[in-house]
Symmetry: C2
Subunit: 352 residues, 2 copies
């Protein structure tokens, strides 16, 4: 039962899966004998199918309904049988066009995600990473009514974050400007976590020795750089085109869809899944059906690839759709997209 799969069996499995992906119907021995290119009788095919079923690569929904691929079957298919379609230059153009240089990571994520969703008619997703060092570019304080201060942070040259903090007392505009100047001068270019630890250090060192200016600045900054406030916020994923998934029969059960959509909304499960996908190395990675480990995604597959800047893996683009998807087209699309994003983010390729 174990051992190598004969080339003929492989070929039959390939044709079966291609047919099933195309039509969504279980494939019978007769149809397979006719359309496989091999000159075999349906009876012979039946023997082969019985063998494939014993290996757990296909299964029969019921006694007389032909065979459909199992997750393991898909796995073998994408690992060793798949002949990927070259991606059309039209598709490349569509994605490249949308990658206007000089957008923020968030904006890029949004456009790329929706581009992927559009090209594949499934849900596109882009993870923007948390691990990336966040460098403070610029900080600005503005006094609001009351003791509230509006803080504007520019991080990594692109991302703008703003938050409102409550201060123990009211500060004048002049104080705020001075504090900002001090912080900009002192900490610009450093990572947020670095800024944070340095702040703590300075605080501990000598509170009394500081002049009032420094004190204001540091009191303020203390609040801004509380870890959860800013730092963790950056890690997120953007999902576009979820409604596309409503078009697939195998996902059209309302309850299932609801679960999926809520997972997308809360993003927790999705992120944990993406983390696993990002774990090792570059290139396209695929989760099929139950391989994801989450029941929710049991009828879904995930095709992802990483993008990087300066050789360092930053995040991840991909699509999520029904297990029965056109892998031969989706894989290269995801692959190319990841490369394009890498290129767009790499400063070397940008006009400096």
């Amino acid at each position: 039962m174990d051992g190598q799969i004969s080339p003929r069996s492989q070929h039959i499995l390939k044709v079966l899966i291609e047919s099933y992906i195309r039509d969504g119907q279980p494939v019978g021995s007769k149809q397979l004998a006719g359309g496989s290119g091999l000159d075999l009788s349906s009876s012979t095919v039946r023997n082969v199918l019985a063998d494939l079923e014993a290996r757990g690569l296909v299964r029969a929904p019921h006694t007389s309904a032909g065979r459909v691929p199992t997750s393991r079957g898909y796995r073998v298919f994408v690992d060793s049988l798949l002949t990927v379609q070259p991606v059309t230059s039209d598709n490349v153009r569509q994605i490249a066009q949308r990658l206007a240089p000089g957008a923020s990571l968030k904006q890029i994520a949004a456009t790329v995600s929706s581009a992927l969703s559009g090209l594949t008619s499934m849900a596109g997703l882009v993870m923007v990473p948390g691990g990336m060092p966040q460098r403070l570019r610029h900080i600005e304080f503005l006094s609001l009514s009351g003791n509230q201060v509006l803080v504007i942070l520019v991080i990594n040259d692109r991302e703008v974050q703003n938050l409102i903090i409550e201060t123990p007392r009211r500060y004048s505009e002049a104080e705020l400007t001075q504090a900002a100047n001090y912080l900009n001068q002192q900490f610009a270019g450093q990572t947020l976590s670095g800024v944070r630890s340095r702040l703590l250090h300075e605080l501990r060192q000598a509170r009394e020795q500081m002049d009032s200016l420094m004190q204001s600045a540091i009191t303020m900054a203390e609040r801004v750089f509380e870890p959860d406030e800013v730092i963790d916020k950056a890690r997120d994923c953007v999902i576009a085109g979820q409604t596309n998934l409503m078009g697939f029969d195998e996902l059209s059960d309302v309850a299932r869809l609801r679960g999926l959509f809520e997972a997308f909304h809360q993003k927790r499960e999705v992120l944990s899944l993406l983390d696993r996908a990002a774990y090792d190395g570059q290139g396209v990675r695929i989760f099929i059906g139950e391989e994801s480990g989450h029941d929710l995604f049991s009828d879904c597959s995930l095709v992802t690839s990483t993008y990087q800047v300066d050789g360092e893996v930053l995040g991840l683009v991909g699509i999520i759709g029904p297990t029965r998807m056109a892998y031969d087209q989706v894989i290269p699309i995801v692959d190319v997209t990841a490369r394009l994003v890498s290129a767009a983010l790499n400063p070397a390729d940008q006009p400096l």
Copy 2:
């Protein structure tokens, strides 16, 4: 056929609709005769029902299936028959808690929207208006790589917007700071459209007479205040809890849901609908079924109320759900929410 509806008919209509809202099943004459509180035979009720049907207030899905309310029926119901439930203090607290003072409009919109969705198990929505005068509080320029400049705008003391513009030449940090200072000094506190027209005016007046500082500032600002860039962006609506709608039988048709979700995503239709709802005056406003004019919403009702600052209507909160909803509970919830939002936004109630 026309003319007044007798009190007895009204009462029967009321009981019918309440029953239908509760159970979702067509209501028959027998059930109605028993549970109406009136001492009538089913036969008499049948006569009344025939009358109500002739008036277009109820209809029979088929010959022997009891009656269900029509949109007109619901309309009569909410206009003159409805006895609203007092909103529980628990609900009030839930909303009030979430309204942390000093959040940006966008943040408020998001929390309120999701609070409404949670309380009603339907989709909550909040419109933040475009008509509101947008006053420039502060502007800041930061040079990025290339000829790109990151612009940070603080509007109305709360909203922070940032955009990246391409400039014809590269500016130094010093130039950018000076330009920002000039603009802040000159235009702070004015409306964006005001700033825009004044800029045009200055430009026309005398380009040669300006010193280079002013020129830089104005060239830059020219791009920032292009009408579509900033000004229209503020008008938006936030929808939360769309997945809740998947729980309702009458909306569980996947195709229909898909349409709805896509409308929510694109927001165009939703905004046009909300515009109509916001059109006149305060208080709770209700669109039932086809009254919305959009086919998509034909099985949905919209319950909205406005919130205001300084007596001026700013925007709109509400929920969207199936026509068959518990109006008696939803209406007061929306009403109270709108009041709470008004209160939270009114500077008078905030610590100054």
